[in-house]
């Protein structure tokens, strides 16, 4: 029988929740890296025991952690070639991972500033890694979306990182600006049908696509409308919260924007709104059913100033027809006095026959549904605020 492993990043450490395919009984492991913010953890699709984690702190900066045994043990990648990572006794040999913006002359025009909250230009400053996206084919290759927004890649298992400078070096960089959470590159989507195509999203710049393996990028924001920026139809400046894709429909993208739920069927060239009958179209997460490319999930949040569910009722909304018509899913979720948020990387689906859906809240709950959202139950109640949730479906 298959198993699932839920990787939970929180404000104060990482937790790993494991179950068999029934998804009724769970083993809880953690906290790993206690006291640190774990923005994101994700396993390699080609080697599920290889898991990358972004460990970060306002005091001590950024650390990349890696596990090669499914999360039982961790180390900072960076041991000298030929030398095994230190385990147990002695200080680790790996260096803290170094993210330095590319300012080489080969790039042509390295940008040094982006737009600040007040409209002035501000230097790019590395703050943290928001999202790690392992390669679909190489366990040692992994992408990192960082704040201030840029995309980095490691091809040696997280030891060294290099920026893909074509993104930040595009003409639009000086018009990018931070959202309330900072200027973060939070979404990285690899196209399984085309190794040269990749999508990323930045708050608050918008979505971008490369068709040449990351050398050059173009904004893909046509159709987005944001009333909170001077030109609501601007090429960049939109506060995209998250983007999701079904791997069998790589040209179809779904987006939860600051306000509005959007859809594109031409690889992001054009977007149309699919908010339909949602009670509010503000939110952070969006995801797609593992086996039904037209089945979507969002968690509506009251507003950009009130980051909690409407009426104190936590409800996932599901559309079975690709948007516009949504049904509330509330069975097993709190329906009174619930004022948590669900952050942008805190929802995921497994790929068991009966698709499992998972999300974590800022109140420290991780909810699971083993039947595509019809019924929900908490796996855990009382973790620190959940920043991210990923799921691995294991043989």
């Amino acid at each position: 029988m298959s198993n699932v492993r839920v990787l939970v990043g929180t404000k104060k450490g990482a937790f790993i929740l494991s179950s068999d395919g029934k998804r009724e009984k769970w083993d809880i492991s953690g906290p790993h890296f206690a006291g640190w913010e774990i923005y994101h953890m994700k396993g390699s699709p080609v080697d599920p025991n290889r898991i990358y984690a972004s460990q970060t702190s306002g005091w001590f900066g950024q650390i990349i952690q890696r596990s090669d045994d499914g999360g039982k043990t961790w180390h900072q990648p960076g041991s000298p070639a030929g030398e095994a990572p230190a385990a147990g006794g002695g200080p680790p040999k790996g260096v803290s991972n170094k993210f330095v913006y590319d300012t080489s002359s080969e790039v042509g025009k390295p940008l040094t500033t982006h737009q600040w909250y007040d409209g002035t230009q501000h230097p790019w400053e590395f703050k943290r890694v928001w999202h790690l996206e392992p390669s679909l084919t190489e366990p040692d290759a992994v992408y990192a979306g960082i704040e201030d927004a840029a995309l980095f890649r490691s091809v040696d298992g997280g030891i060294t990182w290099n920026e893909l400078p074509g993104l930040r070096g595009s003409d639009t960089g000086p018009r990018w600006q931070p959202g309330a959470g900072g200027m973060c590159l939070h979404t990285v989507i690899l196209d399984p049908s085309n190794p040269l195509r990749m999508y990323i999203a930045i708050s608050a710049a918008g979505a971008f696509r490369t068709d040449d393996g990351g050398k050059s990028w173009k904004p893909i924001n046509r159709g987005l409308k944001s009333q909170y920026i001077p030109d609501p139809n601007a090429e960049v400046g939109h506060c995209v919260h998250h983007v999701a894709m079904h791997p069998k429909r790589p040209n179809t993208l779904f987006m939860q924007k600051h306000w509005d739920v959007m859809r594109s069927d031409d690889a992001g060239d054009n977007w149309r709104e699919i908010s339909g009958n949602l009670p509010t179209d503000f939110g952070f997460v969006i995801d797609v059913h593992a086996h039904e490319p037209e089945t979507l999930y969002v968690v509506p949040i009251k507003s950009d100033s009130e980051h909690f569910p409407l009426d104190g009722k936590l409800r996932v909304y599901r559309s079975r027809i690709g948007g516009n018509e949504w049904e509330p899913l509330s069975k097993g979720l709190p329906q009174s006095n619930c004022f948590v948020n669900v952050l942008r990387d805190a929802m995921a689906v497994d790929s068991l026959d009966s698709c499992g859906v998972y999300f974590g809240t800022t109140g420290g709950q991780v909810y699971a549904s083993a039947d595509a959202g019809n019924n929900w139950a908490p796996i855990v109640h009382d973790l620190p605020a959940v920043l991210s949730v990923e799921v691995q479906t294991l043989p």
Binding site: K11, G35, W36, S57, G58, W59, F60, G61, Q62, I63, Q76, G78, A86, G90, P91, P92, K93, G94, V95, S96, N97, K98, V100
Partner: protein
């Protein structure tokens, strides 16, 4: 032998308990101590000072003999008590909520 006291999170990262000791060549300064510390514990690179600029991270402070040296030149010689190992060089995380 210079004694260095690390914040708890950095002790965990470096897998050490209590104080660590480092040898420095030449005068004992903030820079020479941190160079020696990072050489002995490479995982600490970037966690105390910036990878590139080597500036102190904003929420950390350095103390020697009960005095705040955070804003002194990194090349200013530290007191003899630090150089001799009589007193530890303290790396302290700012007290802030969260």
């Amino acid at each position: 032998m210079i004694r260095v006291e690390l914040p708890q999170h950095l002790r965990t990262l470096a897998r050490v308990a209590g104080e660590v000791t480092v040898e420095v060549t030449g005068p004992a300064t903030q820079r020479s101590i941190l160079d020696a510390l990072e050489n002995a514990y490479p995982v600490l690179r970037g966690t105390i000072r910036d990878h590139v600029t080597f500036e102190r991270r904003a929420f950390l402070r350095f103390f020697a003999c009960s005095e705040d040296w955070s804003h002194e030149s990194p090349d200013k010689p530290l007191p003899n008590e630090i150089a001799s190992g009589k007193e530890p060089f303290l790396i302290v995380g700012a007290i802030a909520g969260g």
